[in-house]
Symmetry: C2
Subunit: 354 residues, 2 copies
Amino acid sequence: MGSKALDELLKQPSEWLRGAGPVSDIVISSRVRLARNLEKYPFTARASKASQDEVLRLAKESLGQSATLKRSLIFEIKDLDEIDRQFLVERHLVSREQIVHAEHKAVAIGQGEVISVMINEEDHLRLQVMQSGLNLQDAWSLIDALDDELSETLPYAYSSDWGYLTSCPTNTGTGLRASVMAHLPSLVLTKQINKVLHTITRLGLTARGLYGEGTEASGNFFQISNQVALGRSEEELIENIERILKEVIHQEQTGRESLMANNRVQLEDRIWRAFGLLRHAKTVSSSEALDLLSAVRLGVDLGLMNGLDRKIVNEMFIFSQPAHLQKLEGKALSAKERDTKRAQLIRSRLGGQS
Amino acid sequence: MGSKALDELLKQPSEWLRGAGPVSDIVISSRVRLARNLEKYPFTARASKASQDEVLRLAKESLGQSATLKRSLIFEIKDLDEIDRQFLVERHLVSREQIVHAEHKAVAIGQGEVISVMINEEDHLRLQVMQSGLNLQDAWSLIDALDDELSETLPYAYSSDWGYLTSCPTNTGTGLRASVMAHLPSLVLTKQINKVLHTITRLGLTARGLYGEGTEASGNFFQISNQVALGRSEEELIENIERILKEVIHQEQTGRESLMANNRVQLEDRIWRAFGLLRHAKTVSSSEALDLLSAVRLGVDLGLMNGLDRKIVNEMFIFSQPAHLQKLEGKALSAKERDTKRAQLIRSRLGGQS
């Protein structure tokens, strides 16, 4: 079933899941994305099939020569079955929009999934770099190098007044979106999360769920990013989001310390119950798994769970998603079958009865 | 704290908890009780202090000489603190009524807690024999022997018209109550329990909770006993309850087989989740513990949980009760402290983190 090359990705968890890097007890991953379009070609939504094909051809050629992206895999979405497409979404390698109308769309994936490039999404090119922990600076350096390299062979649409031109005006200017995936369980438990989210929104950031725009926050994960890409340099945008994030992180840390000091038994009880359920349940829904894994991750991050590696917990968040389960099983599974397979996968990763 | 002699009982679980004997996958224990009074002495509720004292003295003397009850312990309730009194209730050695007004009341306890005798409860003497599994016949033989022996030294109140005279008319006649503690989780899960309880009530039996009269059924345990003690011989009463019980047991077995055949995943999930919670939780209430232990016991009885002994599960039902926890800890504990101690005790018995 599905693409053999994607099966290779299945065996190797994304590099950014390794649970290391700065503040990795709170920040899962940092991502920088650049939106780029080719001049003289209409934006994807308004382009003819021939024009989209030409953009695809040019992009593939340029990406194929990239030194930064060396030994990348390029997949045309139309060649992938439904499960493989969903697999790429679960890996955060393509957007949900990218897989709906598959014609003329593609994704290039670099080693360890650190770099990836979507072709013919809303913009002709969407460059992405993912890093483990709070590490927007490294992500920015890497994507900046890739962008410089690609600009040598691809004629970017750029205006000296507006900067990089994009399909949606919120991206115009730098074309940059910097985001981090933050795990904020203590802010949720102590009911401070709404206040915090309200504040960051007023400061020009936005918070979304685990799979970006339009998804609900689940498992206490929040994807926090800049709202506009205009009027500041890339470095300023990244410094701004980092400054605000450090305050959010501080509040989450304070919340955790307060829970440990004042509600230790209840906190440990919650964490170990989640562990006990994951280690022994025979069927677990996707949303329950997220909630329970969130509690277990908090336990790991608080140093309460000896011998359990944060990397294992991180990987379970991704590997317990529907397409991952189906690729691991090698066939399509019903929702009920997935719940059983999910429970089995998590049990075996946690060392429980199989 | 408390009685040193009772501490010995604490170390040694009651013999009837060993989880063996006939049908012990469904029937925890069988109990036969005889109500006896001494002629020429008013029933306890109407008796003067002097009269109660005299009954106590005569009973202790007779019990002390008993060959059947050899090497028994005799406790006067007034000598015991609140926790020790509650401990005796949790062991099913005295009734809740027996410990409220403690003066002139006592209990004699034979080896392994198989035989016990309450003095100056509602009746002057309440003889009790407990057996593991469905074993009313052995319980009856043993209590009959004890009764014959005591009748040689104690002048029983007996009428040739009515039989043994008792404080409450429902006990008059044989003075016998035979009961079994049955674990009926499949009848509860499949919602057949109310129909079953209704039927056995029509057949002259009654069903109560874990701690007898006035207690709610919890943990899917039902104490099933005869409602009247009159108009039939002891053997007939016991045969009648056994015959009806065999039908209840058959229905529970059929329910279990049906769950295993048609809802195996859900059933195993329920059982292993209960195990996971008990093995890892840091605080567990008394009522949650009963429910979770009931699920785990079902798992053991269905052969799903290798290496976990039914005896261990049975003991946890009793040892996780409040007075047992406090005696184990050697001091009085608040409800919150008991929930923590209970979780710790169960975790360590199940081999989880301590």
